[in-house]
């Protein structure tokens, strides 16, 4: 039974680590499916985390924190949209700029407002998203396997975790079953076709980046208000880029995106778990190696195992009406 416990333990932390990746990955999916590449997921997450933590600390409310996080993140997404949709700027440059702005301003504002070296004050439980126990979780705790999975793996996560996983089928439904989704996919493939069909390319893409902002705001909130109790500088630590990698790995499809994020999350959880544990045959492995492992595997997976990932055809290209 010890093995099952250990496994559930790892899977549980896999879920925890995967949530911000998943939210950011779905965020990127909306934007990139509409033809706007977004390397600024990282920055928007970070800004969202900071804004969420700051607002939650001031108003002592997780919900206000979440709302402010999404507003700030959407604001930054709109800046990216303004640069790349309205002004047809280079989307990579604009995205990188967002990342720099977020990395710098969160620390400066944090120091100016709270004087804790760029941190926000530690949040009390009522200003965070606490664990939700699913009905009957305690009662089933001792039932072997099924009960363990239910109470140890499925129950006890924060609201945002459930939202993140429900966002996967929802995104699939939006993308493939609604008018908005049809147009969104079309504008990322051939904006001229959308334009001649009498639909505004710019407005459609703006709506897509707004979706991106909402989701990165949630991703940031999860990190600052659920996983941790406040904002620490540079707390996203490259998750925005890993989410992008997962998006490519999943070939811009929502359900594979979830599995890709879970895989990256699993590698991360495994690395944490194995730190300091001697491995059979190899012996003790330096911590740094274990920490690097997920990234090394990411590179290998992306380089060799996904086959040809075809991005949305109009991705990264500003739309100009041809003469």
């Amino acid at each position: 039974m010890e093995f099952v416990d250990a496994l559930i333990n790892i899977l549980n932390s896999t879920i925890r680590v995967s949530v911000p990746l998943l939210l950011a990955c779905l965020a990127g999916l909306y934007s990139e499916r509409s033809g706007v590449f977004d390397i600024g997921l990282e920055g928007k997450m970070l800004a969202g985390a900071f804004a969420g933590a700051a607002a939650a600390a001031v108003f002592a409310s997780a919900w206000i924190g979440l709302l402010v996080a999404m507003l700030v993140s959407v604001g930054m997404a709109l800046v990216h949209g303004f640069a790349s949709i309205t002004h047809r700027g280079n989307q990579i440059v604009s995205g990188v700029a967002i990342n720099f702005i977020a990395a710098g301003s969160t620390i400066i504002l944090g120091q100016a407002w709270f004087q804790q070296g760029g941190r926000t004050p530690s949040l009390p439980p009522e200003a965070r998203f606490g664990a939700i126990n699913l009905p009957g979780a305690d009662a089933l705790r001792d039932v072997p396997v099924i009960g363990q999975i239910y109470s140890g793996l499925l129950s006890g996560h924060s609201l945002l975790t459930y939202v993140a996983f429900l966002a996967v089928p929802f995104t699939w439904w939006v993308l493939f079953r609604t008018r908005f989704g049809l147009r969104l996919r079309a504008v990322g493939e051939n904006p001229a076709a959308v334009d001649t069909a009498g639909i505004s390319v710019a407005w459609l893409r703006y709506r897509a980046v707004i979706c991106t902002g909402i989701l990165t705001g949630m991703a940031g909130s999860y990190m600052a208000l659920a996983q941790n109790a406040g904002f620490v500088k540079d707390m996203t630590a490259g998750r925005g880029y890993i989410a992008l990698a997962a998006l490519i790995f999943a070939k811009w499809r929502p359900v594979p995106a979830m599995f890709a994020c879970l895989l990256f999350g699993f590698l991360d959880a495994l690395a944490i778990r194995l730190q300091g544990t001697p491995l059979p045959v190899i012996g003790k492995v330096p911590v740094q190696f274990m920490q690097a492992l997920p990234y090394v595997l990411t590179v290998i997976l992306l380089a060799g195992f996904i086959g040809k990932a075809i991005p949305p055809r109009a991705g990264g290209v500003p739309y100009v009406k041809e003469r």
């Binding site: 079953r177 609604t178 008018r179 908005f180 989704g181 049809l182 147009r183 996919r185 079309a186 493939e189 051939n190 001229a192 076709a193 959308v194 334009d195 001649t196 069909a197 009498g198 639909i199 055809r313 009406k321 003469r323």
Partner: protein
């Protein structure tokens, strides 16, 4: 004359200093097929884009069915029953036919009902107009002819009564074009109005009821098709008399200059594109290769000119082998007197962001006459470019102008001047007049004939059957990577057309 479906009155449109449309008046009677003809850049497409709401006229009035109508966006055009089939299809390539048809006309936020509605509506349109296409097929897996049909279906699904087609046959095989014309005829019989934009005179004569001619942004004439001739229309288009038939004497073939033996070429996916092809080209003759685009002509040219590796076979230039299966070097081939005018001048023939003078020596820039020590001799290059501009009547006559700013015909002349003026023994030419206007076509054809008369060997590949027939001394027909027949220039269009469709092979087997 029936009531007018479309009336344009005094339409003006400028892009910066360029006046694309000046004071255009046009009347299209309902239930007719109306041709609009003119050279590239005459303003046809601009005019139709105004009618479809893509641009707005600076001044002027549009009347649809007699009522003055403001058309500000494509939506307005769709609302009054105008549909457009663009030259470059406006389709989402990885969507199904159904998804493309409903895009922008979904009706409600959820797709389920609109897809079901579109499915039954497509069946109705299919019955009424003979527009068969599988609604669940993915666009990129359909041949271009069918893709175009989807474009027509899109317009009809939106209730178009007036259908504008912009250069619809540019991408079609002769058989597909005939099928399209039958569809258009059927649309007309059902009372729809069709506006056909083209620069091909033959199509105008074949299908339209009336024809309007545009030149340099103005509408110069409107004629009943039955009362005009190809010669008159050509003259109206260009503004001077044009020789549509190329005049040439008999060929005087000499030694074999280029010999191709059992050449096989595969494309990047490993599909055999050129299959065991053998032929020769002699000094003083033009050998034309006819065929529908995509039957291996491009790969054949690329292999001979050293751009693409062949799998097997030999090619002899002046009786000396070209290493086509190994490292044939285009630069070395140029030194040996093999010049190549590539099919795709934009991507292979020219660097569009370079100045004209730079392109006019590109590939020959290491010849001593263009060098001063290790540096380019800019004065000599300018002088050389000026000479070529004068000799080939390249306009505007400015060697410092960016190449992208020249028209298609003039860009093609830049490439031809560069290759021909190096005095090669063998000239390989792909699609010499694609996207080139009538006046420049005449000039280019004359130059090619002149090359032949100087005793050069010319290998010509073109998908324009007329061009092949009027220039070639011998015609080889390619189908599915093989040469399926050789004919003289006197062979009829029908005979070669059948070979191009691969018909004779079946007959031979019977």
């Amino acid at each position: 004359m029936a009531e007018a479906a479309i009336e344009l009155i005094g339409i003006n449109k400028s892009f910066g200093a360029v006046r694309a449309n000046r004071d255009i008046a046009l009347e299209v009677p309902r239930g007719t097929i109306h041709g609009i003809i003119g050279e590239n850049g005459a303003g046809k497409s601009t005019l139709m884009s105004i009618l479809y709401g893509f641009y707005q006229a600076d001044s002027g009035e549009i009347r649809v069915n007699g009522k003055p109508t403001a058309i500000k966006t494509p939506n307005d055009a769709i609302a009054v029953g105008i549909g457009m089939v663009h030259q470059h299809f406006m389709l989402v390539e990885n969507f199904t036919v159904l998804e493309n048809v409903i895009l922008g006309a979904e009706g409600e936020p959820l797709l389920k009902k609109s897809i079901a509605k579109a499915r039954s509506e497509l069946q109705r349109l299919e019955r009424e107009y003979g527009l068969e296409v599988d609604p669940d097929a993915i666009i990129e897996e359909l041949p271009v002819g069918l893709q175009q049909r989807v474009e027509i279906l899109k317009a009809l699904y939106r209730g178009a009564e007036i259908l504008i087609l912009d250069e619809p046959t540019g991408v079609l095989t002769p058989a597909e074009a005939d099928h399209l014309f039958r569809i258009l005829q059927q649309l007309k019989d059902q009372g729809k109005t069709v506006v056909l934009i083209t620069h091909k005179l033959r199509e105008i004569m074949a299908i339209t009821d009336n024809v309007s001619v545009m030149r340099q942004g103005t509408m110069v004439a409107t004629r009943k098709t039955s009362e005009t001739t190809v010669e008159e229309l050509a003259e109206l288009m260009v503004g001077r008399r044009v020789l549509l038939r190329v005049e040439k004497g008999d060929a005087n073939p000499g030694d074999v200059k280029l010999l191709v033996k059992n050449l096989t070429v595969k494309d990047s996916r490993g599909v055999t594109m050129v299959d065991d092809v053998s032929f020769d080209v002699r000094a003083g003759e033009i050998v034309g290769i006819a065929g529908v685009a995509g039957n291996g002509q491009s790969e054949l040219l690329e292999a001979i000119s050293g751009i693409r590796k062949a799998v097997s076979g030999t090619v002899l230039l002046d009786n000396k082998a070209i290493d086509v299966t190994g490292n044939a070097d285009p630069a070395e081939l140029r030194d040996r007197g093999l010049a190549h005018v590539p099919e795709d001048r934009h991507h292979v023939g020219l660097v569009l962001s370079f100045e004209e003078n730079e392109n006019s020596i590109l590939g020959y820039h290491d010849k001593p006459q263009y060098l001063k020590g290790p540096f380019l001799n800019l004065d000599a290059i300018q002088k050389d470019a000026q000479d070529k501009i004068a000799k080939y009547d390249i306009r505007p006559a400015n060697p410092r102008l960016k190449t992208a700013n020249f028209s298609g015909g003039n860009q093609q002349k830049i490439v031809l001047a560069r290759e021909i003026e190096q005095d090669p023994g063998v000239l390989i030419v792909g699609q010499p007049t694609r996207g080139v206007d009538v006046g420049a076509i005449e000039f280019i054809h004359k130059r090619l004939i002149a090359m032949r008369d100087q005793g050069k060997a010319v290998l010509l590949v073109s998908v324009e059957l007329d061009e092949i027939r009027s220039l070639s001394d011998r015609i080889l027909v390619m189908f599915a990577g093989r040469i399926v027949g050789e004919r003289g220039p006197e062979a009829s269009e029908g005979e070669i057309g059948l070979l191009m469709a691969g018909v004779e092979r079946k007959e031979a087997a019977e």
